[in-house]
Symmetry: C3
Subunit: 419 residues, 3 copies
Amino acid sequence: MLTKDENELLTRVGPGTSMGALFRCFWLPALLVSELPEPDGPPMRVRLLGEDLVAFRDTAGRVGLLAANCAHRGASLFFGRNEGHGLRCVYHGWKYDVEGRCVDMPNEPPETSFADKIHPTAYPCVERGGIIWAYLGIGSRPTPDFPALEWARVPAGHVYVHKRFQDCNYLQNLEGEVDSSHISFLHRRFSPDTTIAGQQLLNRARDGAPRFSVTPTDYGLLIAANRRWDDEHDYSRITQFLAPSYTMIPAEPGHSISFTAAIPADDYTTWGYTVSWRPDRPLEPEDVARIETWTGIYAEVDPTSFMPLANRANDYLIDRAKQSTESFTGIRGIREQDLAVQEGMGPIYQRNREHLGAADAGVVATRDYLLRTVRELETGIVPQAAVAAEAYAVRSAALVIERGAPPLEAARAVTAVNS
Amino acid sequence: MLTKDENELLTRVGPGTSMGALFRCFWLPALLVSELPEPDGPPMRVRLLGEDLVAFRDTAGRVGLLAANCAHRGASLFFGRNEGHGLRCVYHGWKYDVEGRCVDMPNEPPETSFADKIHPTAYPCVERGGIIWAYLGIGSRPTPDFPALEWARVPAGHVYVHKRFQDCNYLQNLEGEVDSSHISFLHRRFSPDTTIAGQQLLNRARDGAPRFSVTPTDYGLLIAANRRWDDEHDYSRITQFLAPSYTMIPAEPGHSISFTAAIPADDYTTWGYTVSWRPDRPLEPEDVARIETWTGIYAEVDPTSFMPLANRANDYLIDRAKQSTESFTGIRGIREQDLAVQEGMGPIYQRNREHLGAADAGVVATRDYLLRTVRELETGIVPQAAVAAEAYAVRSAALVIERGAPPLEAARAVTAVNS
Amino acid sequence: MLTKDENELLTRVGPGTSMGALFRCFWLPALLVSELPEPDGPPMRVRLLGEDLVAFRDTAGRVGLLAANCAHRGASLFFGRNEGHGLRCVYHGWKYDVEGRCVDMPNEPPETSFADKIHPTAYPCVERGGIIWAYLGIGSRPTPDFPALEWARVPAGHVYVHKRFQDCNYLQNLEGEVDSSHISFLHRRFSPDTTIAGQQLLNRARDGAPRFSVTPTDYGLLIAANRRWDDEHDYSRITQFLAPSYTMIPAEPGHSISFTAAIPADDYTTWGYTVSWRPDRPLEPEDVARIETWTGIYAEVDPTSFMPLANRANDYLIDRAKQSTESFTGIRGIREQDLAVQEGMGPIYQRNREHLGAADAGVVATRDYLLRTVRELETGIVPQAAVAAEAYAVRSAALVIERGAPPLEAARAVTAVNS
């Protein structure tokens, strides 16, 4: 459990908060590249860490991310004209470039123009792996190197990226990702069906009481959950937690690997990103088709709002008959099942009420990491992970090992990225 | 009127409040038996006194009422698996029986299991008269005897029970029930139509200025409203207020009798229960058909949400033409008329603004009873009504008496239950 | 910019606030006459300055405006019976006349009636120019004379009046009205189309950087914005700000003149009134038809809720293709364009974030006027405008003047009302 104060410390992310400052040390997914496809196209609203922003792609293809409201008199730049290497406010025509410079102030006579004095919030953006990333810590320290995530470096055809709106605090999402224990229950199906996305791996997690071991790393934590496989072997699932709120989901050698990010829109809502990639070859049409059955770690969403179709308002389309006969929940997909339990905790779960056991070791270790790191940052110590871009070149793993073998040792060859 | 402090005292009912403590001294209607019809069926959400709960009927048919969120990591038990004499959380498989014992903790290896240390909120339930009742005071004192309400003891076919969602604080509902004065106005019809449910009695309340007399009883209050009938007789309507928030609606000898309960879901919303019963015989199909014209004290509701079809959002389907020609309000049913005035006061009515007269004697007496009782409870005095289960064996009455006869004396034979 | 305290001072309007007190010195539009067309018709809800009220037209045709909830026990008078020279509460039959007297208390026997002690809130109303106006300052000082607005005096056929709901604080609306600078941008069309309402004038505002001059008057401010016309002439637009929140929109001689009012429903929402009138002749059908293309200063609204059809929820139906080719915004009408920028600032814009220039002279002067007047009122000084009813007999103007001529001098003949 966390005390009320600790819970507040880890869940509040707006400007001026400590956890918000920690997020602002890292490059963060801001929106999909596909949301901003072409130069001079429509601007998009972006809510991130409690800030209202507007993103646009300028004439030269560069992406800008500005405070949503014009520095002049506060009109929303969402309605702006994206033209001629900048975004122009429709109220009085002020125009900004992607770096936040005011490059035109046409409602003032030349002698009273003060465009050079206007410096609205503007965050640097880069595009990697189909995602537009932003660094919201601008001004406080040098912009960090971009993390060496493998999937952000492979050719475009090797990666599938996806975003969903999640109606709860980011930490409830993150804790689910580092909690390898729940997959034996929440995601269990009674009639294993290998046509279901991700089901193959889940079927191997028959042992519901895994033993955990956690190792600190430069990027965050490496979490191993060992389950009994047979008398001589264990099934070991290796999950990475990568600061500030990323994870990698265990995958068996020869299968695609998956990454998640739990990015706070604000204290109460989250953008959940899921990514799958093949280091060795492009994704085949059947790989994508399997993802888009929406039975696995990808939730089917409305293409405009990114709201999952199975959501809190419709009880995640739970089918009580199927809950008796087909699956543990009666809810279709793995991600949709996760949403039911994570959102069901309420907007911000009060962790002083909970009762943790040995099976929650991954969750506890992640919280401890965040608490330690956020408190260090309060004293001015920059998180190691924020300056360890190369450390992010890792893969998750799921493999059968000899009983008693150190799981991380065994996984080393599998989790290393050699590219 | 009430002062602001008195109003707060009587209207706030969550955990830790004084009025909440008073409600927690009594068995309270929690949901309809028909909402939880069969063993191992789907659990139901229940919001009661500001607490989020989940109800389920186990394999043996016993009803459990637990805190809605799992004691482990807060997943909603609404999505739980109701199976094998318990409700199992879908997140990690923890299972609870109807008494709140954690009877399985399958995500922990046997050596780290701590199931015997888990004691989630679990409230005792009983089923009486088609309603599942809960006692939310568990732990503070011995569970009280169940009140000897006649309708909860007669055979099932003698009773009609109904529930509606009401969009305001419970006290606005309760005050309407003990206010015999309003029926001469709010519920008046211009062309008396005896096919309309309840209309027969209302037509007798032609005298709009009744004289009230109030008598304290073990269960609460007995309120008589006397109206002029003819030169030698009065028409006397006897209403009971039964702690904490129940009433009986006057009925003439030989007609069915009605009971109401105003049960706080939270400070701002209420579950309104209405019950009608015949002590002497089963309800006939035509009795039920008359109720289900929804022109009387029963509001037509959505069968899933229990939201009245005529509600605040549609101005209770008021028909201004009919308000001129057919009825005082132009709103269809008696209950729907009550909702319009009770909900129209706002979520919590500020009683320091009001101006009471002699006709509000029943309302004033009920408030005085509650104020006195809640303040006594603050000093540790258990309400008499909470330990006077047998006193609840009463009936309401409406009868013509001789002018000047003591109404309660006259009503004694009628209001007593001899079963 | 305004400090946070100044912003609070100008934007909060409920009972007990300083700006609320300023509004309560003036006759304010409360609803359209067309909303309350006939004697003894249905009452209407009115929300004004944070107060919930109910309006009704009595048997004699007089308009009453009462506190929405009955003084007895708080039932909503919206459901009341409007009959026999008064509004009767449906709960217990209390009846009020338009002056707030309780003229019947039928639920009390004569000996306990206290009708003469009941004095609910009741505001005086007058009908002028198709609008029902109310004076909410009753009790604090003598009711002021009605302002000598020309359009409120001309024959009915000379005037078009319109009301809309606006989803932001009134000051954002008012500032837009006194900001002549934005019309060169927000309302610009690329292919001038003289069939579009109001377009003719806008086409003359090609010069985007007007020079402002502001003159204090008895009613408020006279604001001139001069734009370059040709080498020897300026195009001068004369806008009046009339306390507390009215404006006149520049019009060329021989065209209809327009008036606006930004009336707070509460701190977060506004009733926006727009009026156009011809001093010299009735409006022709084609005048009305042009208004009702909804391309000009009138937003198309739902006839019951007065909610604009193009609104925040649908991004004002912005058409990005048309934003490239037809108009600066891709939003249809002038008023709809205004709504996009004014509501886009949020419910209450924080003016400490803004950056003002010379082009904001009208906005700055209006804020200064309001700040000075509201602070004087705090010390007991009644605003001059509140006792200068005759000063409101003015017209706006838009005219071509010689370069260097004093614009107000030139406009004098045009802005004076001689009737």
